[in-house]
Symmetry: C2
Subunit: 188 residues, 2 copies
């Protein structure tokens, strides 16, 4: 259906990689406002080439956002292996934030996650949610976080931390924000 089973021509494959690398770099640095012409130039190709691979700018951004979002799942899975229940939760939040830190476009993407749509996004979200749920419940069972903390709160808290990261001028201020939030999670 959707698939050209045939692999890309060698030069096209090479160009695709350069385009992705340039897009990652420029969106990370300038946010979603980075321009298609600039990305093409940075990759050393014409805009036409870029549009041959991605029908719209949105498709390109989405591909990159998805890529990173899936890393969130991996991070969560890794943190689930941490023995200390509270540490597992705190570390997951910190590592999720850290993986967002260098990418301005991704920060905004996480804030506006609802605006994104890709094949299987629901599964991706559900998978992440499942792990987060387990981590939260484990910490609750150990009586290390308030019993009323819900999975839905996770997105909310990360939204706050990400906003600090994105909008406030001082770099690393978000770590302070995360600390305050973590303090608020202790059982009352």
């Amino acid at each position: 259906m959707t698939t050209d089973i045939r692999p890309l021509r060698a030069d096209a494959q090479r160009n695709l990689e350069r385009i992705l690398a340039s897009a990652r770099a420029l969106f990370a640095e300038r946010g979603p406002a980075a321009q298609m012409e600039d990305i093409a130039a940075h990759a050393g190709v014409g805009v036409g080439t870029l549009y041959r691979r991605f029908p719209t700018k949105e498709a390109l951004v989405t591909a990159l956002v998805r890529e990173r979002f899936q890393q969130f799942g991996l991070i969560a899975a890794e943190c689930e292996r941490i023995e200390d229940p509270y540490d597992a939760l705190a570390t997951m939040m910190r590592r999720h934030a850290e993986s967002t830190e260098g990418d301005v476009a991704f920060q905004l993407a996480m804030l506006k996650l609802n605006d994104f749509h890709w094949e299987g996004i629901e599964q991706d979200k559900a998978a992440l949610n499942a792990v987060v749920s387990r981590i939260i419940e484990r910490a609750q069972a150990a009586d290390q976080v308030r019993a009323d903390l819900a999975v839905e709160d996770y997105g909310m808290m990360m939204c706050g931390v990400t906003a600090t990261m994105h909008f406030m001028s001082e770099r690393h201020e978000w770590r302070r924000h995360l600390d305050l939030i973590l303090a608020g999670l202790k059982p009352s």
Copy 2:
């Protein structure tokens, strides 16, 4: 220098008020993306009329943001009169958030406060900061919030709450966010 001391002609004054009302309504509803033509139409005037009062869209937005920002100062001053030191801080945060709730453009403006410039913005910020400082220090003196809470944290915390308000779908979720943050402020 800058001032036409002469008052506006009666019809112009009337139109100015309608323009401001329409701009408040549309920016509040659609955010800063609300279009100049729409605002003019909503006010029942031509775009030219609108541009006669405000040289650019930015000037119009800034005027409205400033207006609301100054209310922040009033709110803070009112909250300073609350006897209970903790309640004063908590109520101020809640009321600041509430005054932001209905206005999408203002939410974004607070998030990007650094992008705004108006005559005396520094004074406005300093005045607000002074009150917030006093409220925080009073709560600390009463040993009701952690001793290391700083004025700079106030903007950060409000940034998080405002981001939740602006980006998350569920209305009023920000109240939950604020509760978590307030919980984190208790002395450890």
